[in-house]
Amino acid sequence: MIKTAPSEYRFTAPRNLGAVFGRLRTSGPFLWVLPAGLCVLFIFGYSVVDLVQQSFKYEGDWVGFENFSLVLTDPLFRTAMSHNFLLLFTVPILSVMSFICAVLLFETRKGMKFYRSAVFLPYILPIPVIGVVFGQLLQLNGALNSALRAMGFESLALDWLGDPKQALWTMSGIIIWKEVGFGTILILARLISIPLETLEAARIDGAGFFRLHLKVTLPQLRPVILFYIINESIVMVSWVFNYVYVMTNGQGGPGNATVVSELYIYRSAFQNNSPELAATAALLLLLATLVFIIGFFRIQRNASKGVFDD
């Protein structure tokens, strides 16, 4: 005699198949991104957990907040953070310059492709190339100062990278030169997508060049400019290492004039053999960057809302 399975183990068809398919439809996208999400979570999650663990230890032993105390009281770390903060002042300059460049390119009918490539070119140049070129160009007796002296501007021939008072601002100038192309292309792409009728209507209503772009174009570009501001702020806080490393031979000099927090972390980990202090400084930098990342996500959410509302 064949025994039948108890009723609780028996497959029973759901009463409402439509509801099941409905649930699958809503959770479907999440299932599709789950493998990638888990992968990202593992890579970043593991690193962050490991970072937190290391920052509370010394040679494997638990030391509480001792590493935090050592890093926060280190004058070099404070100097490095203050330099990252000072570099944030380049963000408004970058934004304004990118907006102006984008508008000028938009208005330039002839040779727009050439000018667009010329503005974007620095952005795609490798940072080591920029480091070598500017390192030579900006020497006290380099090409720039030779040209200035030849033109009679002796007083402007400064030791751009060798004088501790100038070095950080010179570095800022080079960063602006490189990063402005990204902002220009980003803003220009949005500018081109604005319906021509909108701009034509404003012109027919008597708006001149400045009024048109300040009162009509600029408000339309707000989400993309905000995105650029947040992106560049993150760059200034945590992505300027390459510039400093290649232009100062990994020293952050002269003196500590161009040391930034990432260089501090790199030197702690790989030159000074202090992985715990590097982890602590990295954690503090992550917290500082988190402020911008949260801002970035909020802007993204608001921008998405705007798109869907439309």
Binding site: L161, K165, N249, Q251, G253, G255, S274
Partner: protein, 444 residues
């Protein structure tokens, strides 16, 4: 037991005792070399040195080829490192416990620290003592509690000052031997718009050289280690006076005005071009510099004296070294290669290809005919301790490199630089919690 029996018993006991003692003694001092495996072995060597001893690459290639001919089962891959990447590259490899079997290290603290951190296996565990005793500077800089961390490769007389007599005589000047003379030369040449000394501190390293050749005149390596562990201070006159001397060179316009925006190797070109009277170069490269402008026009010397200290007016001596990594699976093969590189043929080949001195006292100095080279080699035997190798590398980078840049930029005084060096050292004793213990043990 009769007397003969007693004598036999005592004699036998003494013989057994002596045999045992001699066996223990032998096993403690000389480790018998093991048979080298005949299985296929691949070694990786990360090295540096072409930068200061041009021709080193050719020697490495030739030596590896010769070794592989001797031991066909061994393959050696060599990777030349950059100056800035040498230490960070090894630090990353050590963190991963994977990377080279043989690694290049500068002497002193640069060999001690990886030993203290358990990243290298002492070469004295793999190379017999009667072989190691020939390696120059092995015991001065590389030994720690009876072990020797790394094997000296070539000697770096540190660091010779090269003076061009043709440039000096153009202004009726003689090669300065004392500090006062040097400053007088600076006064004359600065008025003519000619730098007395050509240097570049953008990359930092030259700061460490200056510390060693100016600062080393008033202290010994024992003093320096005492300041590191806190028994002396870097603000004490004998440690701090050199900063004032450095400031004097700035105030008296001794250097090229763009010293802060040039790397050392770029600045040395000024000297080669006859646009500066003196410069400082790496020991192994000094003969090449001298020959480039004509050896008869060049005086190779130590930094002019400003102190009456024990090592004032003497050239420092350090050996650049190769170590065996802790994670290497073929330590004995690695050691065998190191010993091979110290065989007579390789020592002669090193001198022939690079013109610099191999770190082995079996190298016959009589084969050196060039008077510049001969004087240089003799000055390094025995030379003064090379000071930079006796301070923590972090102190070197965070206090010496940076403050030299600032003093030479004219934005910091010598006194403030000394105070900063002391402050950095005090901080280091807190962050590196085993520093005092290690340095104290090293200094014994």
């Amino acid at each position: 037991m009769n007397i003969r029996g007693k004598a036999f018993a005592v004699g036998s006991a003494a013989a057994v005792l002596l045999t045992s003692l001699s066996f223990i003694g032998a096993s403690a001092s000389v480790k018998p070399s093991k048979a080298i495996t005949t299985k296929p072995v691949t070694l990786t060597m990360w090295w540096w040195g072409e930068q200061e001893a041009p021709g080193a690459q050719a020697w490495v290639d030739a030596t590896v080829k010769a070794y592989q001919k001797k031991r066909p089962n061994v393959t050696i891959k060599t990777v030349l490192q950059t100056t800035d990447g040498l230490m960070p590259g090894f630090a990353a490899a050590a963190a991963a416990k994977s990377g080279p079997d043989l690694q290049y290290f500068w002497g002193g603290i640069y060999s001690q620290q990886p030993g203290w951190d358990g990243q290298i296996s002492p070469v004295s565990d793999h190379i017999p003592a009667d072989e190691l005793k020939h390696y120059i500077n092995a015991t001065t800089e590389l030994s720690f509690q009876g072990k020797i961390w790394t094997a000296p490769w070539y000697v770096n007389p540190s660091f010779p000052v090269l003076a061009r007599t043709d440039v000096l005589s153009k202004y009726n000047l003689k090669v300065p031997k004392t500090w006062t003379d040097l400053l007088k030369v600076c006064d004359v040449l600065s008025k003519e718009g000619v730098p007395t000394l050509a240097g570049g501190v953008k990359d930092g390293w030259f700061g460490g050289w200056l510390y060693s050749i100016i600062g080393g005149q008033s202290v010994t390596n024992k003093d320096v280690v005492a300041a590191v562990v806190g028994k002396q201070k870097f603000t004490d006159a004998k440690h701090a006076d050199w900063w004032t001397r450095l400031q004097e060179t700035k105030d008296r316009k001794c250097w090229n005005s763009d010293i802060n925006s040039l790397e050392l190797y770029q600045a040395q070109q000024l000297w080669k071009d006859g646009k500066a009277a003196m410069t400082v170069v790496a020991g192994p490269d000094a003969p090449n510099f001298a020959n480039a402008v004509g050896a008869s026009k060049v005086v190779v010397m130590a930094m002019p004296k400003w102190s009456t200290g024990k090592f004032a007016g003497k050239m420092g001596s350090t050996s650049q070294t190769i170590g065996i990594t802790k994670w290497s699976k073929n330590k004995d093969v690695a050691a065998d290669f190191l010993m091979f590189s110290h065989e007579k043929a390789q020592l002669n080949s090193w001198y022939k290809l690079t013109g610099s001195m191999p770190a082995d006292d079996r190298f016959d100095l009589n084969t050196v005919k060039d008077p510049v080279k001969k004087a240089l080699f003799q000055s390094a035997l025995p030379g003064a301790p090379y000071l930079e190798n006796f301070i923590p590398a972090q102190l070197d980078a965070d206090a010496v490199f940076t403050n030299v840049q600032l003093v030479l930029a004219g934005t910091k005084t010598g006194k403030a630089a000394a105070a900063d060096m002391q402050a950095v050292m005090e901080r280091l004793r807190k962050t590196d919690r085993s520093l005092v213990k290690n340095f104290t043990a090293w200094n014994k």
